[in-house]
């Protein structure tokens, strides 16, 4: 889940690069390889779906993960004969991680190329300006990666966020787990160091409110800026406050830096929840050392061991198409793939794939996807919950809620505690 909001302000200036400058290369590649995505041939035999994705710039890595998911779904559905007999043709264009380009791209897709449908880009920050354009032309906006509060504050009836819940709900499942413990086993004190990011700090804040209401004392909270490369001073203050539990609103490398700073300070809380970063099955152990991951909590939506509908088929198709192992699949790919699944389900149920049908149909009922069974309120907020994950025996496992868990949660001291 949160993975897909791995919006890094860490290198805000990186975008300078992503400038209009796609120009030149595009010129070079245009002649060299021609248009890679083909033209939007419109007709009764094809179904063209326009998508703007960040294939370059800040969001390039998750943007490409989303592209793989979309493309995999299109190939899969076309192998089965398409949607209602129409071959799915994806028109994917690059927005260079820039909102200006994303706005222009959806304008072009809808008004120039007259695509039949559109799917969403990567990150809330691009989803919000894009959704205003898409809404203006009454297209359905099924989007895999825009789950920040500002997305839903627009109250757009045509928008559907394809994850289990709004992003700020990311820590709720941890709060649920902790508060499910017998009162004498719960933590007494808590610390909340958070990254100043729309997908990090609000998650920790939501948990804090639940914890405070349940009588867990807040001994430390702070928000640090995205440019912070050195978290030692902050973790030193956390350690000095000696909380039982640390709920850190993190993205990626600040999560790694948190853990490393704790190891250097030789201090560990009893429970450590990192809202994001620690849910990366490959990058996290690479950054902090596999042995140090043991016992750390995070949360997520789709994971390799998921029992959600279609997950096994998705993994098989993904590893066949792109290689690697199930653990290496970015959950963003599953989110994008789920957008296509929704479309297929609407088509199967109604026999139609026009925008008005999609909007009205998705607003009623519950829809099975890799993200679980989804349903939305009138603003597009999904009504489910995320999964609690924990590192156990060198693997990231779903541990809560019990109904969807692979393994019960483990409470043992963190690897570096007491060394």
């Amino acid at each position: 889940m949160l993975d897909c909001n791995r919006m890094q302000r860490f290198a805000p200036r990186r975008r300078a690069a992503a400038i209009a400058l796609v120009v030149v290369t595009s010129m070079l590649t245009a002649t060299a390889c021609g248009s890679s995505h083909g033209n939007a041939a419109k007709g009764p035999t094809t179904l063209t779906i326009g998508i703007s994705l960040s294939l370059t710039g800040d969001f390039a890595d998750p943007g490409k993960a989303a592209e793989r998911g979309y493309q995999l779904w299109a190939n899969t559905v076309n192998a089965k004969g398409g949607v209602l007999g129409r071959t799915v043709n994806l028109k994917i264009v690059d927005d260079a991680s820039s909102p200006n380009q994303a706005v222009s791209n959806y304008q072009n897709l809808i008004n120039r190329d007259h695509v039949d449908l559109v799917f969403g880009p990567f990150s809330s920050l691009l989803t919000i300006p894009s959704s205003a354009v898409v809404n203006r032309y009454h297209y359905a906006f099924i989007e895999p990666a825009g789950g920040g509060p500002a997305v839903f504050a627009q109250h757009l009836h045509n928008l559907f966020f394809v994850q289990p819940a709004a992003t700020v709900q990311g820590g709720m499942v941890f709060a649920d787990y902790i508060l499910s413990l017998p009162a004498d086993q719960r933590p007494k004190t808590a610390a909340y160091p958070s990254l100043d990011d729309p997908f990090a700090a609000p998650i920790a804040d939501a948990v804090r409110q639940r914890f405070e209401a349940a009588g867990i004392t807040t001994v430390y909270k702070s928000i640090y800026p995205a440019e912070t490369t050195d978290l030692s001073p902050i973790i030193a203050k956390v350690a000095a406050a000696k909380p039982d539990v640390v709920v850190a609103g993190t993205q990626s490398e600040d999560a790694y830096a948190d853990v490393r700073a704790m190891i250097q300070l030789k201090w560990a809380p009893k429970w450590l929840f990192l809202s994001n970063g620690a849910n990366s099955p490959v990058d996290f152990p690479n950054a902090v050392g596999l042995a140090n991951t043991e016992g750390i909590f995070s949360s997520g939506d789709w994971f390799a061991g998921s029992t959600a509908s279609g997950s096994a088929a998705f993994i098989a198709a993904y590893t066949k198409a792109y290689g690697g192992t199930a653990d290496q699949i970015d959950s963003t790919s599953a989110e994008a793939y789920s957008c296509g699944m929704l479309l297929e389900e609407v088509a199967a149920k109604t026999g139609k794939v026009d925008n008005a049908t999609i909007i009205s149909t998705l607003h009623s009922g519950t829809w099975p996807t890799l993200e679980g069974n989804l349903s939305w309120d009138s603003s597009g907020t999904p009504q489910g919950s995320y999964l609690l994950e924990q590192w156990i025996g060198g693997k990231l496992l779903a541990v809560y809620p019990a109904s969807r868990a692979e393994h019960p949660p483990v409470t043992e001291p963190l690897a570096w505690a007491g060394k």
């Binding site: 290198a11 300078a16 912070t228 030692s232 990058d283 570096w416």
Partner: protein, 292 residues
Amino acid sequence: MHTVIQALILGVLTGGVYALMASGQTIIFGVMKVVNLAQGALVIAGAYLSYSLFTSFGLDPFLSILITTPALFGVGAGLQWLFLRPLREEDRAELSLLVTFAVALGIEGVLSVTYKTTYRTIQAGYADRSFSVGGYQISAVRLYAFLLSAALLGLLYLVLERTKFGRAIRATVQNPESARLLGVNARVVAAAGFGIGAATAAAAGSVYGLLYSFNSGSHYDLISRLLSIVVLGGLGSIGSSIVGALVMGVVAALVAALGPPIWSDFSFFIVLLAVLLLRPRGLFGASLRGAL
């Protein structure tokens, strides 16, 4: 009080590493009057080189400096020869900003193609080790990084003060015209000066990779700090950039430890603006024409 001292230790250790990067920046400015916006990118390139040598051959970053510094010396000298030398003297101050920025973008592009944009860290065995001294935690890798930076700065000083080559550089800095009359080949000195600047970036990069997660875009953050440091020092001398770096390290660490961390970097920029308000030429601006 404990917090303050802990923050001071951290600030000084961090400042030492930045001093190394900034000294390269200062040398380049000194010999060419060029503000090198690619210095941060060169640091990151150095970090990636070390990362590759570490992951492929298990070479310790402190050892791989022996490979990365000569490599980046070559790269730096080459860049100067290719892109800065052709600029006409009267255009140079202004165009060099854009040219070195373009070089930075180019380096970033090469790195992001080679390494993707995933964040990397060099996970040396001692990365998480730390010493306790009188109740203060000193991270081993930070201490080593500081010591290395100090040693390299010392070495740089010796090269500039005690070698013929160093004298040629200093002569060029003080007065390019008379240096030329004394038989100094200004073109060679300029290329070599840029090369030395890049080499210090390589060394600092190895250390940076041990301390922080980085990706190809990390240089934007670095360059804004480096520029501030050298401007604070007054673009004058290696000594002044060391002071600038230490001020930055200490101010940022103190604010992070005592105040709200979101203002930590900001506070340094405020110090910078305040200094400029009082002394437009920086803390040591008077020595602008002085020796390195």
